[in-house]
């Protein structure tokens, strides 16, 4: 594992990028997935169908194909998203590659987030929605104040699974111009063929730490939100 420790700043930087991809796409997919879920359970028939189509399309397409489309087909169609390179956050410049990867991960993961939340909405007693309508709340209000809070509480475990999958899916970006953990691991293996197993183990541990961190915070959230039954 010598190679890992002598390049430790590289390894940390790589996992930093992995975390960056995860956090940006994680937040993006939670927001977009929730919007899609509201579309699917809402009263507007066109939005219902649009959201259903979206879920069918993105859930059935392998992530790799979405990446190929975003990273390789879009630039050829003239959409390079390079305008994003003017943005810099705290001295770190956002690259077009990072943006395209986050877009691919967000679009894909949102479909799964949507379905997880929809299952939560279905779990909320119908009477809750009827009661909120009865006291004069609009659809938006009853969603925001009554249904979604109860639904989200029920879907912490499945949402955690979706986000854990996302954390590991960031490794697909290794083949699309991002020097995240998996790409850096391949570089180290190429240069230090004599330390193959040590390097693999070190990077596997890195991913395990990330996934365990997600799991523990999800347990904490679950405990806090638990309903006394």
């Amino acid at each position: 594992m010598d190679a890992v420790f002598s390049n430790f700043d590289e390894v940390l930087k790589a996992f930093g990028l992995t975390l960056g991809l995860f956090v940006v796409s994680g937040i993006g997919s939670l927001i977009w997935g929730t919007v899609l879920a509201v579309f699917r359970v809402g009263p507007v028939s066109v939005l219902n169908k649009v959201a259903a189509c979206y879920v069918t399309l993105f859930r059935n397409t392998p992530l790799l194909m979405i990446f190929i489309f975003m990273a390789i087909a879009m630039p050829r169609l003239g959409y390079t998203f390079n305008f994003i390179e003017d943005v810099s956050i705290g001295g770190w410049q956002v690259s077009g590659f990072f943006f395209r990867s986050c877009l691919a991960l967000t679009l894909y993961t949102s479909a799964f987030v949507c379905e997880a939340i929809r299952s939560g909405v279905n779990a909320v007693d119908l009477g809750q929605a009827e009661a909120s309508r009865a006291i004069g709340l609009t659809f938006n209000q009853s969603m925001r104040l009554v249904v979604l809070p109860q639904a989200l509480r029920a879907v912490v475990p499945p949402l955690t699974s979706v986000q854990v999958a996302l954390a590991k899916n960031t490794s697909v970006a290794a083949a699309f111009g991002i020097a995240e953990a998996t790409a850096t691991m391949r570089g180290l293996v190429n240069q230090n063929g004599d330390q193959l197993y040590g390097i693999f183990i070190a990077f596997a541990i890195g991913y395990i730490i990330i996934v365990e961190a997600i799991s523990f915070s999800s347990y904490a959230i679950e405990r806090r939100l638990k309903v006394a039954r």
């Binding site: 630039p75 690259s95 590659f97 083949a175 111009g177 790409a183 570089g187 240069q191 063929g193 004599d194």
Partner: protein, 294 residues
């Protein structure tokens, strides 16, 4: 077996005819060379050596790359890989009395070359396999049979002229390759892709500013698209391609070195180069001097 082979023959002939019908569409096909196969090769090796076993066996497994035009490339419809590395493999096999059609070609990607040698999955690795101290510590490497250096492939209208110009620019290559580390050291932003062809596409799209890897590979791509691409910058690294062999078979080193030396002397090396890398228009270089076996 016979049936599929005759079917394959029909397909091949059909393809050849349709290519012929398209004028010179087949002219960019890389030629292969004929190598004289040694007779009664097994007699000249001592008992118990790897060479004796291979020669008596009449077949050899060689690991090569399948995705590097000019070096080692196998198209979806090809039966055998083409390129300089497979030609070197044929020269070595011929010395053991093994004809080209008895060689088993196995694709080795960069990451599995050492494990394949250690586990006996392949007998030799000839896969743009740069000689390094780290690698020599765990597997055998004889050679070099070819010395190349890293260069840049850019669009024809690019302003990049020297290696200093890539500071802060996006430069792509294959994920995990040494080439990417080298341009990173020069201040470029490394962009890794799975294959060289995806990387070339990114250069053509304008998503990245340059592609980098060993000059020989870049020349191959520039030759495919001479109007839009060019190779710039003097080589800024030295890659010495060696032949990998199992660490348990140290006796192979002297044999590989002797055979390569003979090939360099009798012109087989030049012929192999001209039939493969030479197609991109570069002059045939002098064959490199080989390292002594330890």
């Amino acid at each position: 077996m016979r049936f599929t082979r005759s079917k394959a023959l029909v397909v091949t002939v059909g393809l050849a005819l349709s290519l012929a019908a398209c004028g010179d569409a087949g002219s960019d096909d890389t030629e292969t060379t004929d190598v004289d196969v040694a007779e009664n090769a097994a007699d000249k090796f001592e008992d118990g050596t790897a060479m004796k076993e291979l020669a008596e066996d009449g077949s050899i497994t060689i690991g090569v790359k399948f995705d590097q035009p000019g070096i080692g490339f196998k198209g979806a419809t090809d039966d055998a890989p083409k390129g300089f590395d497979p030609e070197i493999g044929k020269i070595l096999a011929a010395d053991l009395g093994i004809p080209a059609d008895k060689i088993k070609w196995k694709e080795t990607i960069s990451a599995n070359r050492e494990p394949f040698l250690q586990e006996g999955e392949v007998d030799l690795v000839i896969a743009s396999y740069s000689i390094t101290d780290e690698r020599r510590a765990i597997v055998g490497q004889a050679g070099p049979y070819y010395v190349t250096g890293q260069q840049l492939l850019v669009r024809s209208d690019s302003d990049i002229e020297s290696i200093e110009d890539i500071k802060g620019l996006d430069v792509c290559s294959v994920t995990g390759s040494t080439s990417l580390d080298n341009v990173k050291a020069e201040g470029a932003k490394p962009r890794g892709f799975d294959t060289y062809s995806e990387c070339v596409d990114q250069v053509l799209d304008g998503t990245v500013d340059a592609m980098t890897t060993d000059g020989a590979i870049l020349l191959g791509y520039a030759a495919e698209n001479p109007d839009e691409l060019k190779v710039v910058v003097d080589p800024f690294s030295e890659e010495r391609y060696g032949v990998g062999y199992s660490p348990d078979r140290p006796e192979m080193c002297q044999w590989i070195t002797d055979t390569l030396e003979k090939a360099e002397d009798d012109g087989a090396w030049d012929e192999a180069f001209e039939a493969t890398l030479g197609q991109s228009g570069v002059e045939t270089p002098d064959a490199p001097a080989l390292d002594e076996c330890a």
